[in-house]
Amino acid sequence: MTENIGTIRGINGNLLSVEFEKPVLQNEVGFAQIEDIRLKSEVVRIQGTRAEMQVFEDTTGLRVGDRMEFTGDLLSVELGPGLLTQIYDGLQNPLPELAEQCGYFLQRGIYHEGLNRKTRWTFTPAAASGDEVTAGDTLGTVPEGIFTHRIMIPFRMTRRYTVEKVAPEGEYSLEDVIATLRDADGNTHEVTMVQNWPVKIPIRCYAERLRPSEPLVTRVRIIDTLFPVARGGTYCIPGPFGAGKTVLQQITSRYADVDIVIIAACGERAGEVVETLREFPELTDPRTGKSLMERTLIICNTSSMPVAAREASVYTAVTIAEYYRQMALNVLLLADSTSRWAQALREVSGRLEEIPGEEAFPAYLESVIASFYERGGVVRLNDGSTGSITIGGTVSPAGGNFDEPVTQSTLKVVGAFHGLSRERSDARRYPALDPLDSWSKYPGVVSDEDVQYARHILRQGNEVNQMMKVVGEEGTSLEDFIVYLKSEYLDDTYLQQDAFHPVDAATDADRQKYVFGRIVNILRVPMHFDGKDTARHFFQALTQTTKDWNQASQDENEFKEIEKKLDDMLAEVTEHA
């Protein structure tokens, strides 16, 4: 390959204006050079012989006249065994390795291969010579932790090939040739266990996309029961700061019923990532008994890390998710927060002096967000098996106002909306999902009839509460008052969940079905009281007992005992017609 060198002509923040002579690609990667430091950059606009390039690092010290070395490649990630358990920055540099090399701080211009070249993997061939294959077909497998990692024909090799030779079972490192293929023109191609894929282009090596229909159990009661998420679906969590978006994401990343969780910490606090990466190795995955870290991968580009890399980080994450989907696995991608990513777009757009849209976000914001969420979904692969990517993105709307462009663009393309409300979080009602505003288009885990009844009670309770603010408690009939108390009871004991209690933090689908059934039955019971004070008193006691019930493990006697106690309490107030 011939060298393509440009010259820097202007510097404005992290945006460079570069003069070039030989052809360059849109989104091509280049390296700006200050003495012996090379700073990774990406072409974002081309005009005449000038390319505008965003630098993924701090540009202090660059001069006009410095060299820009074009690489001829788009921004890509390395795909191969060894991705899981890693902690990457937005450009797929492993952070622990960088820490070993540079100490406490992230020095600019230091890049590291995403995958370790020294690790040896035990390869078992699956294809044989003479087989007809194409992109995405499995050549063999290697064990990666608890998963069988498929070594596939690189996705960019989209023609038909005949397998000439596959390596026998044995130990190989990533760059060893494990298969030789021949195309129709008779050219041979060597395949290793690692391949590159440009992050901004979706991987499409599958037979067809299916409709998401199976619920993805998150073990958060209000989500699974009222606003479920489907495997291969998309959902968003908008909410003002302090409403508990991140805690909700952390809980989901722990308990969600999927094979692989990819966490894209995009422009958020470093402390939150640290909690995940220090705690996960110690936690066991209830499904496998192994460390939770074995199914987790973290892409972490926190708020103080360079902005352009923040934009890249969500693409890096979704590309890796697509890679594991190709192995017929169910992947959950949690992006926190998509607003920061949108802001990164805005910063670049501003420096490019593009005509701004609403709140100075670029006009293409909507299509960018839509195409990101569209990379989720359930697919039937060429071999008939299915894999899925579920995408859950948090949104941090300015001022907690959902009318802003990022929230609105996101709502158009997702299948479930988990709106967090400031009022609920102020009243310490966690998770602060608004039970009246949120919605979901996916099927849930409990009976639909019960859910409808519960919604009905919540709505009525809310109406009574609004009315009571005007006419006061004395102006409310006892009947209405009981409805209000019932809705509060449902809220306190079922919708709210203590994320920090060992038992209450996660409720599996079976327990949800059971407990929800019981609670809805309690709501259905016609009750008789002498007055409002006795009613309130009764519900306070009932709430306390039910909360104790939530904190009791289902296998212990306590669970049965408390249930019995609830029955007894109820029998006393039941109205016998």
Partner: protein, 439 residues
Amino acid sequence: MHKVYKRIERIAGNVVMLEAGDVSYRELAEVSSSQGTSLAQVIRIDGNRVHLQVFAGGRGISTDAHVRFLGHAMQVPFSSALMGRVFTGGGLPRDRGPAIAQNMIDIGGPSVNPAKRIIPRNMVRTGIPMIDVFNTLVESQKLPIFSVAGEPYNPLLARIALQAEVDVIILGGMGLKHDDYLYFRDTLEEQGALSRSVLFIHTAADPIVECLLVPDVALAVAEQFALEGKRVLVLLTDMTNFSDALKEIAITMEQIPSNRGYPGDLYSQLAARYEKAVDFDDAGSITVLAATTMPGDDVTHPIPDNTGYITEGQFYLRNGRIEPFGSLSRLKQLVNNKTREDHRNIMNTMIQLYAAFRETLEKQAMGFRMSSWDRKLLKYGDRFEKEMMDLSVNIPLEEALDLGWRILADCFEPAETALPTKLIEQFWPKEKGGEESKK
């Protein structure tokens, strides 16, 4: 010897433009004209046109001013000799002490590798129940105090700084009133804390560009102390002035504003500063407490709004009290399970009941009849405000928890609190009353 340029093409606000070659991005320059000499920093290069941000402001700069580039970016001195001293945002002495120029360090350095951070684990005891019990402050936390102008946020910052057990206090003052600066200096001195403090002060009368430098300078110095193993507390007051300075420069540079005139990168700019808060696995820590005044008491204003998304919680200071609603310490969960087993439950229950009290107050204001439950809440809310929320209360956490139980027991039956039965058996006071008569 560096070349001297003698022709300035454009002066707009605090930004001057001249034609120069071989200049690097963010390099410092010295601009001298008849009105004096000031440092300036390169903020944009377009071909041979170089834009400089002049620290002392553009006023009085002549078109034939002499500009000399220094060949390095902004630096500050670092040594233990900084302790007890007061500097400007540009790093020059503000007291009568000598200038310090050895061991220069870069400011605005790279961010800490998340892999080298650890989960914060130490509580910072302040003696203020609204903080210790309800929103525990944690070492290495970054936390703003949201308030309106006129609230006592500076005294609160000073009090926390003095009571917290830290090795070094660094104060970054931005757009401070001169008497506020003197207040901080005198308070630290009276309490004998000045000898472990470094002050970087930009007062409202100083050039606006220096205001932008204060957090970077203060945090660069803090970082060095932390690397030496010290526990550092950084106070930044007031970050609203810093953000307004950013806005001013952005508008001068003709950037497209995003929201109410603030630049689109306000979030990233604030985050770059706040994220310096850190707990190193084998060195010291930096805790950042900042004051953010909310223009018009509007929390959705871009400055408090962006800040809230960056920081790990916030304290609302309103009517001289820390508001329990909205105030939040996101890191409290990391430490309040190790204090006392009733801490979390007391925290949640008392706040929920206080919320109910507020609702009752509304009902009362509208003239509705008070039920017996309402009367209990009124009694409770009153005691809670007097004995817990008042900022003059100064008691250790454990006493505050005991006090909480006593207040609950004086006002309610155990079941009305919805506290877990186990805790009630252990902590519910056997005898009622007493506390009020003691006070």
